[in-house]
């Protein structure tokens, strides 16, 4: 390493797999740490709200520990060379999310809503179970390459489901849920994200040469041929249709952004990023100009205080005014640098969405800037591990799939955090692992499972020299 630091002038470097140790014990140590932190937070909330250590501390700690332990054992057995950081990071985020959801359950202001923490623990268990299923049954991620076009059909099917009459459920203006009788609601878009990444990776692997090479240079940009623009136009139209029919800005942005990221990585052409940004801007402005649900979101973003006052005054002008955007900003503000302490904030004023879309506001108030930065860094580390997995992967499909999944994960965090903090208009998406919501937690554990599988394949030392039947017969000619 010293030579690299001594010679800053050399820009070319190679990053590749070496025969690495499996690092499973590092993962175990980090996992213990990642379980202890939420248990500490849980005790802290109990002491702050009820003046006593909460009675559920032991069962809650054991529950989270059991999840982490099962995850670790499955990884140790079925993906021994997988990245050691992803599982602890996801466990910590999931645990912190559980603590804050439980903390909002304790709030007297929210007492007329059903308890969410036990359900969230159940969803987390289902998520870890799905991670185990992915790791046990997906022996090699390259198998997914066979299902490129089936994935496309599957993803479209999942996206259309919420629009089917009788199956879809319109909750607070967005039609992204389906009702399963007796089980509750499901958000197919969360799963479509993973399936669509498989399709994009398989498709771009085959088509990337045509997309990258057949182009004309114009004003410093590579303009692709008209027919090569087809796929990006199709994806654009689909994401616009999602926006119009399901009024879901977040999912639409997520899918289009993921496609542009993967297109850029596959072709190394900056022009795709320029096209992507232009097209998403045109699409968003176009739809926002006639869709009232999106318009209120944009207004709440531009002038949250006015929306708050309109809502307080009870103005009935045909659109729903929301106080939440302003309340979230107040929560961040009153948290300050170090926060009010767990259980001592007033972010429960936000109401029904406090533990789902707006959960980051609770972190902002009770842990302050220092806490939110740590949470965002934890997300950043998961994304970094995903990108590193893509760099180390030896097959183009694995590279693209890993970059697509971690890109989608990063975009989702950006869209939610940016929305809650008032950087971009708020969209109804869930903060991965932290926010209350079964589909999101389960789908993101599956996403981590696929990334673990790719990183296991990428870091696994090549198998022992196979018995070489030709070795005896072949004569090696040595030039003397």
């Amino acid at each position: 390493m010293s030579s690299t630091s001594n010679s800053p002038t050399h820009h070319t470097s190679t990053i590749g797999a070496i025969g690495a140790p499996s690092r499973r014990n590092t993962e175990l140590a980090l996992l213990v740490f990642a379980v202890v932190i939420p248990v500490f937070a849980y005790a802290n909330v109990g002491l702050a709200i009820n003046d006593s250590v909460p009675p559920g501390l032991l069962s809650y700690g054991l529950g989270l520990g059991l999840l982490a332990g099962v995850g670790h054992l499955v990884v140790r057995k079925f993906a021994p060379y997988a990245d050691p950081l992803m599982l602890p990071l996801a466990t910590l985020l999931n645990g912190l999310g559980l603590v804050v959801i439980w903390r909002l359950d304790q709030s007297k202001r929210l007492s007329n809503y059903a308890e969410a923490a036990p359900r969230q623990l159940l969803y987390s268990a289902m998520g870890v179970a799905l991670l185990a299923v992915v790791l046990i049954f997906l022996k090699d991620h390259r198998v997914l390459q066979r299902y490129t076009y089936i994935s496309m059909a599957g993803a479209l099917f999942l996206l259309i489901l919420p629009l089917v009459p009788g199956l879809g459920a319109n909750i607070y203006g967005a039609k992204i849920w389906i009702k399963i009788p007796g089980l509750g609601t499901l958000q197919p878009g969360e799963f479509a994200k993973i399936v669509l990444a498989v399709f994009f990776a398989g498709y771009l692997m085959v088509k990337r040469d045509a997309l990258a090479l057949a182009s004309r240079r114009f004003m410093g940009l590579y303009l692709p041929r008209g027919r090569d623009l087809g796929p990006i136009l199709v994806v654009w139209v689909i994401s616009i249709l999602i926006l119009v029919f399901e009024t879901d800005l977040g999912t639409s942005l997520l899918f289009f952004g993921m496609f542009v990221i993967m297109l850029y990585v596959a072709t190394e052409r900056t022009s795709w990023i320029v096209f992507g940004l232009l097209m998403s801007a045109v699409g968003a402005v176009g739809v926002a100009s006639f869709e009232p649900h999106i318009q209120t979101r944009v207004q709440a973003w531009l002038d949250p205080m006015r929306e708050f006052e309109l809502s307080r005054a009870g103005v009935q002008d045909g659109v729903v005014h929301s106080e939440q955007a302003m309340q979230a900003l107040w929560a961040f503000g009153s948290g300050g640098t170090l926060g009010t302490g767990l259980g001592q904030g007033n972010s429960d004023l936000i109401g029904f969405a406090a533990n789902s879309d707006f959960i980051l506001a609770t972190f902002g108030e009770e842990l302050g800037l220092a806490g939110v930065m740590a949470i965002l860094l934890l997300y950043g580390l998961i994304i970094e591990r995903g990108v590193r997995t893509a760099l180390a992967a030896r097959d183009p499909f694995g590279k693209l799939l890993a970059i697509g999944l971690s890109g989608a994960f990063g975009l989702q965090v950006f869209v939610v955090a940016g929305g809650v903090m008032g950087l971009i208009p708020l969209t109804g998406m869930t903060l991965p692992f932290v926010a209350y919501g079964g589909s999101s937690v389960i789908a993101n554990w599956a996403l981590i499972g696929i990334l673990l599988r790719i990183s296991d394949t990428a870091r696994r030392p090549a198998p022992a020299p196979a018995a070489n039947p030709d070795a005896e017969m072949t004569q090696v000619v040595r030039p003397s």
């Binding site: 390493m1 030579s3 690299t4 001594n6 010679s7 070319t12 470097s13 190679t14 990053i15 590749g16 797999a17 070496i18 025969g19 690092r23 590092t26 980090l30 740490f33 990642a34 932190i37 500490f40 802290n44 002491l47 702050a48 003046d51 060379y81 050691p84 950081l85 692997m205 040469d209 170090l338 767990l342 001592q344 842990l367 302050g368 220092a370 806490g371 740590a374 860094l377 934890l378 580390l381 970094e384 590193r388 760099l391 180390a392 097959d395 183009p396 870091r459 030392p461 090549a462 198998p463 022992a464 020299p465 196979a466 070489n468 070795a471 072949t474 004569q475 090696v476 000619v477 030039p479």
Partner: protein, 169 residues
């Protein structure tokens, strides 16, 4: 619960949270992730700079380096051109297969490559050999098209379609 206890817990929790982040970054920093960054291109120059920086026993180093064959044996395979540029594979006595087949060690995404194009393996003396597996467009070592299994000189480029690989120390 007293105000003081809660303040201590609040700050303690933030400290523990950041400690986790720092530990996680340390795990990354110690490069435990099966990847390492190595210099490409002007390696010789980098080596010279490194020696100049150390100044101490350059001659001894060179002598010990030039000794047995074992020291000169390449330790990794580097892709220097093509879509996989930058990929390295550690050479640990295993056979490396190259081709478009999904189960190849290095999966070539190249219209000029066959599904099982070539393989690279060590013979009994530890010399690395490249062998063309009857590919359509051929495997080239330097400028010559391979017809028989041929030993690889260190640094000699092996060309398959648009992909070029080298063995390095």
């Amino acid at each position: 619960m007293s105000e003081l206890t809660l303040t201590v817990m609040r700050l303690g929790f933030l400290a523990v949270l950041w400690l986790f982040v720092i530990v996680a970054v340390q795990v990354i920093r110690s490069d435990l992730f099966g990847t390492r960054v190595t210099q490409r291109g002007s390696r010789r120059e980098a080596g010279r700079q490194q020696q100049a920086a150390r100044q101490a026993p350059p001659q001894q180093r060179q002598q010990s380096g030039g000794g047995r064959r074992g020291r000169n044996a390449p330790t990794k395979l580097v892709v220097t051109e093509g879509t996989l540029t930058g990929t390295t594979v550690a050479l640990q006595g295993q056979t490396i297969t190259l081709g478009r087949a999904h189960d190849s060690t290095i999966v070539l995404d190249d219209d000029y490559a066959s599904s099982r194009h070539a393989r690279i393996y060590p013979d009994r003396d530890g010399q690395w050999i490249v062998e063309d597996l009857g590919s359509t467009n051929g495997t080239y070592l330097d400028r010559t098209r391979l017809t028989t299994p041929t030993p690889i000189a260190p640094g000699a480029p092996i060309r398959i379609g648009k992909t070029v690989i080298e063995l390095r120390k």
